[in-house]
């Protein structure tokens, strides 16, 4: 079980690996509550985003189950008009990392690589 400091450091490391960071949070799937959060923009309500994202993840897990898939959901990448959103599930499936980035300053591959690298360090 990671401490809040460890989660916070992890988010900072991810932020340091990329430009265009908007916000990131580590969220408890069941409750939708944030365990750690960081945002570079005051107009981005991370608590609200995290709560919605846990509903989204649950919805997706339902779909995966309905499709009869045995493999677990690892991550989700959303390409929006002006943003990239990434959700990375931690092993165990009770927690996930949510990251929002500005599409003009970075790309999907950079975001994905940065997240995978630092989540692996924490959860290995």
């Amino acid at each position: 079980m990671s401490t809040e400091k460890q989660l916070d450091d992890m988010i900072r490391s991810i932020e340091g690996e990329m430009t265009g960071f908007i916000a990131a949070s580590v969220v408890d799937l069941e409750s939708g509550m944030t365990l750690a959060a960081r945002t570079s923009r005051t107009d981005f309500d991370l608590a609200v985003a995290s709560a919605y994202n846990s509903e989204l993840v649950k919805q997706k897990l339902k779909i995966v189950k309905a499709l009869g898939l045995k493999t677990t959901l690892e991550d989700m990448l959303l390409t929006l008009g002006d943003q990239l959103h990434l959700i990375k599930l931690f092993p165990g499936g009770h927690t996930f990392l949510y990251l929002a980035a500005d599409r003009a300053s970075t790309n999907l591959a950079i975001v994905r690589n940065a997240v995978n690298k630092h989540v692996a360090t924490l959860t290995s």
Binding site: T19, T79, T106, N107, L108, A109, I110, R112, N113
Partner: protein, 122 residues
Amino acid sequence: MANVKESLEKIMQSEGAVGACVVDSSSGMMLGSIGGGAGLNIEIAAAGNTEVVRAKRKTMRSLNLNDQIEDILITLGKQYHIIRLCASNDALFIYVVLDKTRSNLAMARIQLGEIEKNMQIA
């Protein structure tokens, strides 16, 4: 006409080639890669170089340069990096890493140009 895999294999035949990949600059992800290894994480390189291409394009736009990028050559201490934009599809580029001591940049550049022209993405 050669596909991505064949084109990458041909690139590796160039003297001094360490690794290469074909990248989709809209996502930074690779359509295919070859070589690399411990000294070169091709995936990270592809993602990072996507931003190089995007930045260059942005600069050209702000300068109102009505022109196309053919290639970008970067000389490092021990390596040459060549980014070759695909004329057939401007979202794609080929990224090649060469060992400086074993390669001839001019030759590599010309060969890469030919391979790019001959490459057909399915």
